[in-house]
């Protein structure tokens, strides 16, 4: 037990304490944990999203399988297992069969760098952010593979759209992450978290005007990269049947959606780590947190909580905004997000000098931005309450219907 404790505290030296075989075992254990977590998350989110969508559309959503429908995702998954695994006759069999796996792997490999606590992380890569962008590009490969190998017009159109979209939005994602990397001075996610503080005004979002805007830029671009509505053009049902997965059925079809819903968590977790302070607890130093098992656990919980709040926001956005047109999508990227990203990087570099030269002013700006952020959140609640009141409705706070 004490060895495990030292391991979790990060003071453990694998070369000294244990034979070489234990380290691979731990790596496998973490892999199993990550995949299990991701799968469960993807499954449960598929149910949760439908419930939220139902409420936002004035209905209830699935509530029949199990209490409040919580087992709906199991039923759906079971159904998919029983489906025939169909490969179209004219499809490129091998490519068609392996296409879901790059998508799946591309999303799940990001768990390697997601930091839950000072010591709980798959691998604290010193090029963490670059790894994140590189491994996510696998998804594009998988989607194009699926679209091409299906030998179907709809699938091919979806795949090509997806390629164009993802390659375009890699650029604003890169710029936005760079804006956060410049003040932190490191590409490692643990390093970026360590550069922030536990209190909201010490978070990276409110660090400077550049990072404040970069937060929104990254969030938007990450949605587009993850094929989430309003940027789900590759799988636009109304125009492309189902896009790149038109020909897929059964479990292979489910893999794509597994990856999509797991990607929700990845977006939330990366934003939480890079912009919202990650596992940092307010008023607790890094050494103090690393020394205590319970503080590590609390930090991990806080990190997951932040990620889940962001997942909620993504779901909320999906059921609010209509899908963009292809031209609008490209205009949004190349005319708005990319120039904004360029300016943001320049401002971020400039702000390093401001921080050095006028630490008081920088701190004041951080407070102001923090206040703005909380004001926006409050404004949102007020607007929602206003809509209910003047829509002639009553507040109904029961979530389980």
């Amino acid at each position: 037990m004490s060895e495990l404790f030292t391991f979790i505290q990060g003071r453990w030296d694998p070369a000294v304490t244990y034979p070489q075989i234990v380290w691979p075992a731990l790596v496998v254990a973490y892999g199993v944990f990550a995949v299990t977590f991701a799968s469960l998350f993807a499954g449960i989110t598929s149910w949760y999203e439908r419930r939220v969508a139902g409420r936002m559309q004035c209905r209830i959503g699935p509530n029949r399988v199990g209490p409040q429908g919580v087992l709906q995702w199991l039923a759906d998954g079971f159904k998919a297992f029983l489906k025939e695994d169909l490969v179209p006759k004219e499809a490129d069999g091998i490519l068609y069969r392996i296409a879901p796996y790059p998508v799946f792997v591309g999303v799940f490999c990001t768990w390697v760098i997601l930091p839950y606590a000072p010591a709980v992380v798959g691998a604290d890569l010193n090029v963490g952010v670059v790894f994140l962008m590189a491994i996510t590009a696998l998804v594009v490969a998988g989607i194009i593979m699926g679209g091409w190998a299906s030998n179907s017009k709809w699938a091919l159109l979806g795949g090509v759209r997806s390629a164009a979209q993802m390659v375009s939005y890699e650029i604003p994602v890169g710029f936005a992450l760079l804006t956060a990397v410049i003040p932190a001075g490191t590409l490692s996610l643990q390093g970026i978290i360590a550069a922030q503080g536990g209190a909201p005004w010490n978070w990276m979002v409110f660090h400077s005007p550049a990072t404040f805007i970069a937060f929104f830029v990254y969030f938007t671009a990450a949605l587009a990269e993850g094929n989430r509505t309003p940027f789900d053009l590759p799988e636009a049902e109304s125009e492309l049947v189902a896009g790149y997965n038109t020909e897929y059925s059964g479990m292979r079809f489910i893999w794509f959606f597994f990856a999509e819903w797991a990607n929700l968590y990845v977006i939330g977790a990366v934003v939480a780590a890079v912009f919202l302070g990650g596992w940092r607890l307010p008023g607790v130093g890094i050494e103090q947190q690393a020394a205590s098992l319970w503080l590590q656990f609390a930090g991990a919980c806080l990190f997951v909580l932040k990620a889940l709040v962001l997942v909620n926001v993504i779901i909320w956005l999906r059921w609010t905004l209509p899908r963009l047109r292809v031209d609008q999508l490209m205009i949004m990227c190349w005319k708005y997000l990319v120039p904004a990203g360029m300016v943001l990087v320049v401002v971020a570099v400039f702000w390093v000098f401001v921080e050095r030269g006028m630490p008081g002013f920088a701190r004041w700006v951080a407070f102001l931005l923090c206040a703005t952020g909380f004001f926006l959140v409050g404004l949102m609640f007020w607007r929602a309450w206003y809509n209910i009141k003047y829509g002639g409705d009553r507040l109904y706070l029961k979530f389980m219907v």
Partner: protein, 444 residues
């Protein structure tokens, strides 16, 4: 610069509109969903939630029905079927039958408007789901009921809406037609009209006749009794796949065997013409047996494959629900009886087409007798052949079921009877047309 202003305005507009839009959707998270969780989680039964004057499935309270048949007359589709009868004590009439075919009703509400006592009403019931459309013919009369007498200053009592209907609708959507039939279709009536003694006499006659036939069977006279039969068996087709050698061998064998007996008469059909007709029929000459048939017979006896072709004739009792003693099958007397192929057992079942061709066309058609006292169901049934080896082309489990559906108006297609062919269909059509005219006029 103006362009740049527009550029910034675009950003601002999109940000504001997204923010407002999200506020709207967010607000719905704190409002009550309007979904009514039909059918099991609504606060009260849905029939109590739908508007008061909505038109659901029709129901009738036969206790307050005055039997004026106005609803039946006003119905544009013919959904309602009412049968009136004389009361058993001889005074007045009774309502013998009151059927509503919900599957055809279009909810126009005419019948409820003409009803003077409000016996006919639209309920709030709407769940009539059933796997068999015949389950949707609702029968509102179990025992004959005397019609309600309208009195001055007395408003007829009205039971709660839908109470009667709920006892009449089959709730199980996959309730089988047989269950429905056993509950609602009247059992086969006592044979024929007239007194019971006459009935018995008739039955005895029929029995005696049958016995006679049995006796006569096997003898040459039996063949003589059936003038319509082709005297000699038709030349048998040699089945394919049989080598000439086999036949030659058989012929060789046949030569050593004494000549076979005369070809047996095929099965007599029990649906015999009435005795008078029999007597009138002249006995045809004994069938000649061409000598070459011996060879064929010999082959039949020796070869196993011939068993398929020649069947030992047995008295084939025509069964089904035909009441033979009361009503002889309508076989056209004037034409050659060989035309009534559908009555006779065959080695292979004839196709529908064959049967239809075999049944004579109009010149030999005999219209069904005019028997106003006999229930329509029986009359329709008598117009069907009711043969044993029916393939069930009509889709009903029994001839009785099909006849019931036809006579109650639940079935429009009168030519579904495969074995009856065109003759049967024409007779049924005539009967049904008569029924329509009669029942509308019968109102006294």
């Amino acid at each position: 610069m103006a362009d740049f202003g527009q550029y910034l305005a675009n950003i601002k507009n999109s940000a504001v509109s997204i923010f407002e839009g999200m506020a709207v959707t967010f607000s719905w998270m704190f409002r009550r969903p309007t979904t009514i969780q039909y059918p099991d989680r609504s606060e009260k039964p849905v029939r109590d939630m739908i508007p008061e004057r909505s038109r659901g499935v029709l129901e009738v309270d036969v206790k307050t029905c005055i039997g004026d048949l106005q609803c039946q007359r006003v119905c544009p589709i013919g959904v309602i079927l009412i049968e009136m009868d004389k009361a058993p004590d001889g005074k007045g009439r009774v309502i013998k039958r009151f059927d509503i075919d919900v599957s055809k009703c279009m909810y126009c509400g005419f019948c409820t408007e003409v009803c003077p006592t409000n016996a006919m009403r639209h309920t709030h019931e709407f769940e009539g789901c059933s796997r068999d459309i015949r389950n949707l013919v609702l029968h509102f009369v179990d025992e004959p009921v005397p019609p309600y007498k309208l009195q001055k200053d007395v408003t007829p009592p009205t039971p709660p809406l839908g109470e009667i209907l709920r006892t009449r609708v089959l709730r199980k959507w996959d309730a089988s037609y047989r269950a429905w039939e056993s509950k609602y279709v009247p059992p086969p009536p006592a044979p024929g009209g007239g007194s019971a003694e006459a009935q018995k006499g008739k039955e005895k006659k029929a029995e005696a006749q049958k016995a006679e036939e049995k006796k006569a069977e096997g003898t040459v006279e039996a063949a003589a009794e059936q003038p319509s039969r082709p005297a000699a068996p038709e030349p048998l087709p040699v089945p394919e796949g049989i080598r000439a050698g086999d036949i030659l061998e058989a012929v060789e064998k046949a030569k050593s065997i004494p000549p076979a007996k005369a070809p047996e008469s095929p099965a007599p059909v029990v649906a015999v013409p009435p005795p008078e007709e029999k007597a009138a029929a002249p006995a045809p000459p004994e069938p000649e047996v061409p000598p070459k048939d011996h060879v064929v017979e010999a082959i039949h006896e020796e070869q196993p494959w011939t068993k398929q072709l020649v069947k030992t004739p047995e008295p084939e009792v025509v069964h089904g629900n035909v009441d033979l003693t009361a009503e002889p099958l309508r076989v056209p007397e004037t034409t050659d009886r060989s035309a009534a192929v559908d009555m006779e057992p065959k080695a292979e079942k004839p196709s529908r087409r064959e049967v239809q061709e075999a049944v004579p066309e109009k010149p030999g058609f005999v219209p069904p007798p005019d028997e106003p006292d006999r229930p329509m169901l029986d009359r329709v049934l008598a117009a069907m052949p009711g043969v044993a080896d029916c393939e069930g082309f009509c889709g009903y489990p029994s001839c009785r079921g099909y006849a019931n559906a036809l006579s109650s108006g639940g079935e429009f297609e009168h030519d579904l009877c495969d074995r009856g062919g065109k003759g049967s269909a024409d007779r049924i059509a005539l009967l049904l047309r008569k029924m329509k005219k009669k029942e509308t006029v019968k109102t006294e």
